[in-house]
């Protein structure tokens, strides 16, 4: 049997902290597993003080192990205290599920910023994912950018569990608050026509206000460009190819390439500089995100 997320976290934490600190954590996990809520709440709060909050600094092999333990799980940016807090939450008994949810509710309700980030990024590891849909939606509604990113970035939960409306709101909010789309898991798989239309409206609002638009926006519109608002999206992409900034031109190329319509291919043919094979490999959505 392959390692569980708890096995991975436990191994990484044990390698990163002194033996006595790890022994403290093991003790708290055992008490938590035995169903005692008071030591659980206390330990959850004390974790950063006891173990520190340095980065876990995981290797590529560690990250592969994480993805095997839970597909889509990417703890590359996790810190020691976040890993330890997740271990404590994963130790909670779930036999009495209503009680388990109540314990979690209380934990979220009293959490400070760092704890909220730890809790939200642990969502995909919790049992019975459906039970946490409202919680995830609340994380998306927050005004704390780091908490929002704990749900939206490097987290497989939203693409797996959110309905179309909630998912679309999350993507729009990423653009709205100025965080990148590329770290969102399942981005291309969950592109949809409604989202494309919403984002096109957003793009025109921004243009009307003389504001920049993240070139990443066109990634979500590309596959639906032909049918979005009677060809308006296609016109915009054509215009970006001619007049846009470098990154916008790159985005337009990638968006048009993701579009099946003949029209998209025709536009690309009209811009031979960008259609060439050499240029084609020079950039990706990730490189555009990194540069924007």
């Amino acid at each position: 049997m392959s390692a569980t997320p708890s096995d991975c976290l436990s191994k990484w934490v044990s390698q990163s902290v002194p033996a006595d600190a790890f022994a403290w954590l093991e003790e708290q996990r055992a008490a938590t597993a035995a169903g005692e809520t008071k030591p659980f709440y206390l330990a959850f709060g004390l974790t950063a003080r006891k173990l520190g909050k340095a980065d876990l600094s995981l290797s590529t092999a560690d990250l592969e192990e994480a993805d095997t333990a839970r597909s889509g799980w990417n703890p590359a940016n996790w810190s020691i205290d976040q890993a330890a807090r997740t271990l404590l939450v994963l130790a909670l008994p779930i036999e009495d599920f209503a009680h388990y949810l109540k314990t979690l509710d209380r934990l979220f309700a009293a959490a400070e910023v760092g704890e909220l980030v730890a809790l939200y990024q642990a969502l995909p590891l919790l049992p019975s994912p459906l039970a946490h849909q409202n919680r995830a939606a609340e994380g998306i509604r927050t005004n704390m950018k780091s908490v929002f990113c704990a749900v939206a970035h490097h987290n497989p939960y939203p693409s797996e569990q959110l309905d179309e409306n909630a998912w679309n709101q999350m993507i729009l909010k990423c653009l709205f608050v100025g965080v990148k789309l590329d770290p969102v898991i399942g981005l291309d798989q969950r592109a949809n026509a409604n989202l494309a239309s919403m984002l096109l409206d957003y793009a025109h609002e921004r243009w009307a206000a003389n504001r920049d638009i993240s070139p990443e926006l066109w990634r979500m519109i590309g596959p639906y460009a032909a049918e979005t608002q009677n060809g308006k999206a296609m016109e915009d992409l054509n215009k970006l190819l001619k007049e846009g900034r470098e990154l916008e031109q790159q985005a337009a190329i990638l968006a048009l390439r993701s579009c099946q319509a003949d029209e998209a291919q025709a536009i690309l043919q009209g811009h031979p500089k960008w259609a060439s094979a050499a240029e084609a490999k020079a950039f990706t959505w990730s490189s555009i995100a990194a540069a924007s």
């Binding site: 909050k53 309700a109 400070e112 910023v113 760092g114 704390m144």
Partner: protein
Amino acid sequence: MHIIDPHTHMSARTTDDYEAMAAAGVVAVIEPAFWLGQPRTSVGTFQDYYASLVGWERFRAAQFGIRHYCTIGLNSKEANNEPLAEEVLEILPLFLAKEGVVAVGEIGFDDMTATEEKMFRAQLELAKEVELPVMVHTPHRNKKQGTLRSMEICEEHGLPPHMVVIDHNNEETVQSVLDRGFWAAFTIYPKTKMGNERMVEVVRNFGSERIIVDSSADWGVSDPLAVPKTARLMLERGIAQEDVELTCYQNALSAYGQSGQFNESDWLNPAAIDQRNLFEGNSVLRGQTPRVDEPNESEIIT
């Protein structure tokens, strides 16, 4: 010069205030849990208030490059609703161990009732249990008696004076507070009570040891820039730089630093995870000399 405002209710202030404070050199603030002008009627509103002090307000401050800390406690004004007060005491432990909670406070007397005293004592015991300093609010009416009584009670409970900050002092109370070994904090109130010219004279007469300046800025008439303004005035009027640094920065750091939750490295050299979570990796603050007050560059709203 770096400034700490160790008593300010930022939840009641605007982002303009945060900007102005950062520009004036404020690197860290402590927001004591207090009342909101309107008494609360259920424990849930206390819980959400405490959660906002360790959550949203902390994040909001960081956007302006200011580190936000808080104290958690049941204030004296609301201690008089005894059944509710008992419920609030029960939820305090949930928050006292949180990161960024630097003291139990502000607690003490308002009307000096028996219920206030009961709640004060219960929270002093709690402070001992969780090994946190205490921030004591002294009453505005009957100040001298209230201050003495507060200190006696702290002593009765065996709290070492170096773990207790007695706040809202004036010229009449400061000597007895210092004599007994407590920290003596002063709130600068614009227009009424303690103005900052008086504060300059307090430092001139009583020195800088264990004396702390704060603004207690809140939803009433108050000045969120009271500490940096007082620091500047002290320098102008010939108080030594060292004394200004002690009263407007270092003493607060030493007093509340005893919590283990208030370290200079938090703003001078924050952990990578804090940079990502609070400052989003930007270096508004670290190693930067504070901007000088400038007139508005532009009226255009962008």
